[in-house]
């Protein structure tokens, strides 16, 4: 069984987000970038499936500029067998990404696509579902536990108010919740070895995919800061404040 994992390069979740001078995007030049944490979980799951004998090959795919190679090296070090870089213009949107991945899937014929449930930059959370739609494959989203037996998946999904378990045939698309696993720590020798492995290159042009943007960002802004609050001395004073706010809330609801 072959697993394709799509990974995205994002601004590291721990660095401040700054708006670019033109106000239309985030300033990433010089900022620390990493693999989207949800995609790293997806990758870890694929590698574990290979280690336990359920999968035979793990392919990591990144889309975008050549700088993406750093996250593909990371994927190889974590245990991916192959890495493919699809050269594509900046500013890809979810539907365009899904179409590019559809073209890569047509070439590579994986049995399973694993991908993070959302990227921590745009927080769109649409990629896996859109790809599954275009492929006509079943999907299991927000997955926190995964089993493969007899060419079929059993996936536990996190849904509002609880969980549900789906059984679905392969090929399929699965999107990973953070709770699916904890990615391993990558040791230096693995990183050194990964540097010597080849990264295959494809180009979006050659794949003949329509990447016309459907959405345009008109402006980015920071949400209005909340006014400074006040510290109270003890439980009694806090409860007084709660009482006042509770009354205000009731009045607001009545009006």
């Amino acid at each position: 069984m072959k697993i394709l994992v799509a990974i995205k390069r994002v601004l590291d979740a721990n660095v401040p987000v700054r708006i670019r001078a033109d106000g239309l995007d985030v300033e990433i030049s010089g900022a620390r970038m990493s693999i989207n944490p949800f995609d790293e979980v997806a990758l870890e799951e694929a590698v574990r499936l290979k280690e336990c004998g359920s999968a035979s090959e793990v392919l990591a795919v990144a889309l975008g500029a050549a700088v993406n190679q750093d996250i593909l090296r990371h994927a190889l070090a974590l245990g991916a067998d192959r890495a493919v870089q699809v050269e594509a213009p900046a500013g890809l949107q979810p539907l365009g990404v899904a179409k590019l991945l559809q073209a890569v899937v047509a070439r590579e014929q994986p049995d399973l696509v694993l991908i993070g449930k959302q990227a921590v930059d745009d927080d769109a959370g649409q990629e896996g579902q859109m790809l599954a739609a275009l492929l006509g494959w079943p999907q299991a989203t927000f997955v926190s536990a995964l089993q493969i037996e007899n060419q079929a998946l059993q996936a536990v999904r996190e849904v509002d108010g609880g969980t549900e378990t789906l059984a679905l045939p392969l090929p399929a698309v699965v999107t990973a919740d953070l709770r699916l696993n904890e990615p391993r720590f990558i040791k230096l020798p693995s990183l050194m070895l990964a540097r010597k492995k080849p990264i295959e290159a494809l180009s979006a042009d050659a794949l003949g995919v329509d990447l016309a943007p459907r959405l345009s960002v008109k402006a980015l802004s920071e949400p209005p800061a909340r006014g400074a609050g006040r510290l109270v001395a003890d439980a009694a004073e806090l409860v007084e404040c709660l009482q006042i706010e509770g009354r205000r809330l009731e009045i607001k609801e009545l009006s």
Binding site: L11, A13, V17, V26, Q93, P94, L95, A98, Q118, D121, D122, D123, G125, Q126, Q129, M130, A132, A133, P138, Q139, T141, F142, S144, E158, V159, D160, G161, G162, T163, E164, T165, L166, A167, L168, D177, L178, R214, L215, S216, K218, L220, S221, E222, P223, R226, G229, R230, L231, V232, D234, A235, A236, L238, V239, C241, L242, E245, G246, L249, E253
Partner: protein
């Protein structure tokens, strides 16, 4: 053209979010139809939502999986130009799939609708707001329901029954585990009491009585959930539920960006923490610094005393 709203329910009744999504639909001046995939009773309840044109009802016991529900939405969008739903796990699963089948983009988690194809949505865990325009002829949108005004009831509109699905999905739902609780639903509660990892094994013993006295829902940080102190479905934040209650009581949680993403739209934020430098105090309207294991029971007791005096 018109709007199609995907209603949400628990099998018996509409979820409060649906009333707010219908409220959000008034941003367009278009007729709105509500799709109920569920029981007769829910369809009848939906028919009384104020301001809608009709209910489209597909009778079924359990909501079909995305693989089957998405094609139904696509079919219905021949007659509609906007597909609208709350930013719930159901809509986040099925709407992107429907959007791709329609060959259109999807706008997720809109916090404001500023024009027929213009929205404001959060990015980077709510650290930025993006004003986004769509060029597609069909708009597929989820909204952050707590930020929109709910509609009330009105005389019932007609219910149009849809033909049953053919059951073409290859996916089967083999188990569903919904937590039943006496407490209000987290997503729609007026008051939320939320705890962090600092509460440790005493998460429930400290917070459940406080939540009960306030008639509040319980919430938790991802760290508290991951450590096993709180149940999964309580998680508030970038990857959990987004809430915007009247009062959000944050107990023993530091206020990481990923958590703030799920609650910073609350009207009033109250923080109790032992660390005076915790970032949560920067967004809190009221803060109390103190030992959680003494302060929280003291607050619970003080509220009870107040309630007894008022009773």
């Amino acid at each position: 053209m018109s709007i199609l709203i995907l209603a949400e329910h628990d099998g018996q009744a509409l979820k409060p979010a649906t009333r707010r999504v219908v409220g959000a639909a008034s941003s367009w001046t278009l007729p709105a139809d509500v799709l109920v995939v569920g029981s007769q009773a829910v369809a009848r309840e939906a028919a009384q939502l104020a301001g809608i044109r009709q209910v489209l009802h597909l009778e079924c016991d359990a909501v079909p999986v995305a693989e089957e529900l998405a094609p139904l939405l696509v079919e219905l969008m021949h007659e509609h130009s906007v597909l609208l739903a709350a930013h719930s796990s159901l809509a986040r699963d099925v709407l992107p799939r429907a959007a791709a089948l329609l060959d259109v983009a999807m706008i997720g988690d809109a916090v404001r609708i500023t024009g027929p194809a213009s929205y404001v949505r959060p990015m980077y865990a709510g650290r930025l707001l993006a004003k986004v325009d769509s060029r597609d002829a069909i708009q597929v949108v989820t909204v952050r329901a707590p930020l929109f005004t709910p509609v009330g009831d009105a005389p019932a509109v007609p219910i149009q029954t849809l033909p049953a699905l053919t059951g073409s999905a290859t996916t089967r739902r083999i188990a569903a585990n919904q937590q039943v609780s006496e407490r209000p639903q987290l997503a729609s509660a007026r008051v939320v009491v939320s705890g962090g990892r600092a509460l440790g094994e005493q998460f429930d013993t400290l917070l459940a009585p406080l939540a009960e006295t306030l008639g509040a829902a319980l919430g938790a940080t991802r760290a508290a959930v991951d450590a096993g102190f709180a149940a999964n479905e309580l998680q508030v934040g970038q990857t959990g539920i987004v809430v915007a209650p009247g009062i959000y009581l944050a107990v023993g949680l530091s206020g990481a960006a990923q958590h703030l993403a799920g609650m910073s739209d609350s009207d009033v934020i109250v923080a109790i923490n032992q660390d005076p430098d915790a970032p949560i105090f920067k967004v809190a309207d009221y803060g109390l610094v103190g030992n959680l294991f003494e302060t929280v029971p003291a607050v619970t007791r003080a509220i009870r005393q107040l309630q007894e005096r008022q009773a």
